[in-house]
């Protein structure tokens, strides 16, 4: 299945927008994580961990799925395919892995928000290095995916080579 040129551009725009949006949202989470660790103001620290859970549900998760789905459309709707080129395959693995880790991590956001909302919880218990650590790793993974998408390094999978050699 190959998309028409107009539809292909629309799908590409949607994919770039969601992938870059996800990257930007992760940078924002990294900033929040650092503020949560370093701020001296108790209300700011609690506010950071309280804001993370809804922001993740309403921003990170939708952008992750949008990036994954538009990437699948982009691969399957063009000559690149999903399993023909190593760079596409690795990018899919990175996006899939990051999305799974994010969904697994949502429970952690919930626990941190509950702790931050508890007025009896000490500030040391509210603070956590986990979001900053995960955001930094996610940022690295998404940057690698972006580099793969831009440079498109050569290399076809065995399946891709077979498809390429097959007479049409």
């Amino acid at each position: 299945m190959t998309l028409s040129p107009g539809l292909r551009k629309f799908a590409l725009t949607a994919h770039i927008t969601s992938a870059v949006g996800w990257l930007g949202a992760v940078v924002a989470f990294l900033a929040l994580g650092v503020v949560g660790l370093t701020s001296e103001d108790a209300r700011t620290v609690r506010g950071v961990y309280l804001a993370m859970e809804p922001t993740a549900w309403f921003v990170l998760v939708p952008l992750a799925f949008a990036s994954l789905l538009t990437g699948l459309v982009q691969a399957l709707g063009t000559a690149w395919g999903l399993f023909r080129h190593y760079w596409v395959l690795f990018k899919l693995l990175i996006t899939l892995f990051a999305t799974i880790v994010l969904l697994t991590y949502m429970e952690t956001f919930s626990v941190m928000a509950d702790t931050a909302a508890d007025p009896n919880a000490e500030l040391a218990a509210v603070r956590s290095a986990s979001p900053a650590l995960h955001a930094a790793l996610a940022l690295l993974a998404l940057l690698v995916a972006a580099v793969l998408a831009v440079y498109k390094p050569r290399g076809m999978t065995a399946y891709g080579r077979r498809r390429h050699a097959r007479p049409r």
């Binding site: 660790l37 190593y86 690795f90 693995l93 892995f97 880790v101 697994t104 991590y105 429970e107 952690t108 626990v111 941190m112 702790t115 508890d118 009896n120 919880a121 000490e122 040391a124 218990a125 509210v126 603070r127 956590s128 290095a129 986990s130 650590l133 440079y151 390094p153 050569r154 290399g155």
Partner: protein
């Protein structure tokens, strides 16, 4: 990035594949090590133990 190995696989693919395997293995090890309670914030928190362990009485 375009150097091809003897088997026809590019060098960057081998390096990347190895890195992906290491990360996946690490993830599985962390998942197994965390036990039934999940990959909670206590694992990376500044306080000791679970986040609720330092609650005031």
């Amino acid at each position: 990035m375009d150097h091809e190995g003897p088997a026809g696989t590019h060098r960057w693919v081998k390096v990347f594949g190895a890195a992906v395997l290491v990360v996946l293995l690490l993830f599985v090890v962390l998942l197994v090590a965390r036990g039934p309670d999940g990959h909670g914030p206590g694992r990376h928190s500044l306080g000791s133990g679970s986040p609720h362990s330092t609650l005031s009485p």
